[in-house]
């Protein structure tokens, strides 16, 4: 048989092998958090070791292929070496040492990133649902709940954090798994139903960073984006203290009745219109019609759901069809809202008319 792989080809391959790893450093995201910088360092060390090993091993493979290819006409047997214990020990020991070193560095970095600490500039509770996020900062000095969310799934919510300060992120989900992932932070962590999770970040420079859900969570997983905006302390305080939650405008009070039906759109985590018009005075009822495709329920609260002042009993979670909740007498002018508890983003106003 004629040997394949003249020298030129293998040289080209070698060159390619040497160049490709450079692409891997060039493409890595520049880290924008203190924690991410540690990850980045570890990544680069690992890359250096991997490239060294990779180039070394591939060179040896190609070298032996070129050097020991059979010469035409040579029918003799090569030396029949069966093994060598010293070699075996050496090439078991050296990788063991490298691996232990890599592990040691990982270990130190884990400790540095995941160490729980008490001093936080803010604690933000992140909730994920199909398919967006809420960022809950708690109540500000004016007594307003600072809860960031989107008005529809298509406009991603933005998390505001002060630059240079350690922020704690608490993660919760009461539906499926999601994962909070900001590429520029070189970090992600899953939101797990039934288990509280969390981590710290310290954003180092101002800017807007793209984030996205990284755990498959159903149909619109790819649309479950958000952003994190790093701002100065002053800017953060101003934003926090002047926060006003956007509420839907419901002005069709003429529709007010003692029974009202709201509709959840086919396959979406969205109300057809986020308004329910009910009469004050006596007991009333609110019906949800689920067009199907997603599980929903309906529950009425006084004020935002996160403050947890339920009015009446929440409805059943249904995949399609209708479900009615009976409500006690409501007072005109008070702030009532209705939600799908599976999708907290599905917020609507209950407008009570006398």
């Amino acid at each position: 048989m004629r040997p394949v792989g003249p020298r030129l080809r293998s040289r080209l391959r070698l060159a390619a092998v040497a160049v490709l790893p450079l692409l891997l450093t060039a493409c890595a995201q520049q880290p924008q958090t203190e924690q991410g910088k540690k990850v980045y360092t570890l990544y680069n060390i690992t890359l250096a070791i991997a490239v060294l090993i990779g180039v070394g091993v591939i060179s040896m493979i190609l070298l032996s292929c070129v050097r020991y290819r059979k010469q035409p006409g040579d029918e003799s047997m090569p030396p029949q070496t069966h093994g060598n214990t010293v070699f075996e020990v050496v090439w078991t020991a050296i990788p063991t040492v490298i691996v232990l070193a890599l592990f040691g560095m990982s270990f130190v970095t884990i400790r540095a990133i995941d160490k729980p600490s008490g001093n936080h500039a803010a604690i933000i509770e992140v909730r994920g649902y199909q398919w967006s996020w809420t960022f809950d900062y708690g109540t500000n000095a004016a007594g307003t709940r600072v809860l960031v969310k989107t008005e529809s799934n298509r406009t991603p919510p933005q998390m505001i954090v002060p630059v240079g300060e350690k922020v704690h992120i608490e993660q919760r989900s009461d539906n499926v798994m999601h994962s909070f992932f900001v590429p520029a932070f070189l970090f992600k962590r899953d939101l797990i139903p039934g288990k509280a999770n969390g981590f710290d970040i310290t954003v180092t420079s101002p800017g807007v960073y793209h984030g996205q859900c990284a755990e498959l969570c159903g149909t619109d997983h790819a649309q479950m984006t958000f952003s994190v905006k790093g701002v100065s302390r002053a800017e953060f305080d101003k934003w926090f203290n002047e926060f006003r939650p956007p509420l839907p405008k419901c002005e069709d009070t003429a529709k007010a009745a003692t029974e009202y039906t709201v509709t959840a759109l086919q396959g979406r985590a969205e109300w057809e219109t986020p308004c329910a018009y009910l009469k004050a005075g006596g007991p009333v009822s609110l019906t949800m019609h689920n067009q199907g495709g997603l599980p929903h329920n309906i529950a009425v609260f006084e004020g935002p759901m996160t403050e947890n002042k339920p009015v009446g009993k929440p409805g059943k979670i249904i995949n399609s069809g209708s479900d009615t909740v009976a409500l006690p007498a409501l007072e005109a002018g008070k702030d009532y809202r209705f939600y799908c508890q599976v999708h907290p983003l599905m917020e609507g106003l209950v407008k009570v008319s006398p």
Binding site: P3, G5, L24, C27, Y43, A50, G54, V57, I58, I61, L62, C65, Y68, R69, K70, D74, P78, P79, Q80, H82, G83, N84, F87, E88, T92, P95, T96, I98, L100, F103, S106, F107, T109, I110, D114, Q130, D174, N175, V176, S179, P183, L186, F187, K188, R189, D190, I192, P193, N197, H210, Q212, E215, L216, G218, D220, H221, A222, T225, P295, I317
Partner: protein, 553 residues
Amino acid sequence: MTTVASRPSHATPAPKKRSKIVDYLTTTDHKKIGVMYLYFSFFAFLVGGMLALGVRAQLATPGGTMIEDPDTYNALFTMHASAMLFFFIIPIWAGWGNYIVPLQIGALDMAYPRINALSFWLLPAGFVTMFSGYLMKGGPAQAGWTEYPPLTAARFMPGYGTDLWIVGLLLVGISSTLGAINFMVTIFKMRAPGMTMFRMPVFTWNILVTSILTLLALPVLTSALIMLFIDRNYGGSFFDPGVGGNAILWQNLFWFYSHPAVYIMILPAFGLISEVIPVFSRKPLFGYKAFVFATIAIGGLGFSVWAHHMFATGQVLLPFFALMTAFIAVPTGVKFFNWIATLWQGKITFESPMLFAIGFLTMFLIGGLNGMFTASPPVDYALHDTYWVVAHIHDVLFGGSVFAVFSSFYFWYPKVTGRMMDDKLGKVHFWITFVGFNLAFFPMHMLGLEGMPRRIASYSANPQWAFLNKISTLGAFIIGVSIFPFVYNLWKSRKGPIAGNDPWKANSLEWWTSSPPPVHNFDSLPQIRSERPVLDERLQREAEAALAKGASA
């Protein structure tokens, strides 16, 4: 117009051909069963590949205009991976194991021929079950091949697709378990005289260790699948946190199987490579025993690393799993260095099997090394569930297992058919595959570093990812093209040059018998004094011939 009556000869189908089909349908001969495995799993590869091309076509543009409904896309990659893993890579090695292992150890058949046939027939049954999801309202399974609850709970994923996926996989599970028992008993009990454990070919060793992994890991997946089925259909709440269940539990059970499963997919490939490299270097495998121990070590360590798929949950003991995962590099490294030492000072020729073996060495290496990044939890925080992991998957599974599969076809085709495959065409196949592979999967590393998550149907918010994705799509279609010379070669070589018993001047017993082997496998057996009985015999014969020549001269 010709009437039927005027052509009586056409009306009756040739009885011979028919009986051949019936023969295959009812056979319990390990060779025929092996061949059916090969046909079936190659078919699954084409199905999985077509689905992959759908995935790539969708991702060629940021908006993903090809598929409107993201669920259709989710089903695409779910079924792509299911076809590739459960119906292609795992069974194709079971196919070669079936055909080759009894030959390599000098046995007449597998230990339980009828159970062997059952193992095979469960596979198409599982495939039909799983893929019949495409006929159901709501489509097939679409939560990724990992099917994490609670997404797969009935309330989030209604419809029969997921249930069919579960049942299909249960059938595959029974198939694999029975197959594993069969291999183990065959290898333990049916070796020819003189074939001690440490004279067994390395391929057989790897099938043995693979079978042990299957036997011990797969039942755990079975139990998890049953629990998920109960959750979905009988109101159970194992994985539903709403009623006291535990969502992470599924991940633990799933990966307890599925990590060893990745070694089930690669160990036979290691074995094959360890057959090919010595043959085409004309040297014994360097460090045979080290190889065997490394295989056992990989198998053993494989049971203690599963949670490296769960680092980002923050719910697992990070240092332990990180350490164990990293350790797997050591026995794998031992294999690499021994392969290189086998090449070293050899007289290497580059027929197609060897070309693919060298391709395997270089490409799997990249996959192994990029696995070392995710083995470090902090780095995995950045790379988990991004295209870096997709790159890893395909580097190890395509650059590793699939390259080895191609190598095995070129290597053993002469044994199965008695004919040689066209080597030139094989080389064309190799180079197209090699180029396509690197174009398709190398850019995914960069995409992963840039933060492109996997399992997304579109990336309109990040149009800058489009360029690398286009290259990847191009590469995928080049891989698609590379299949044509291969399939053509398989077909046309059925009339290729006669191979003879031992066309490669190889080492192990399958090359002793005729090609194709007789029904009872061997008319005679050589004496087995080492792990290379056929070579020993050949050398002895050559020495005797030389002696005779010397004497007559």
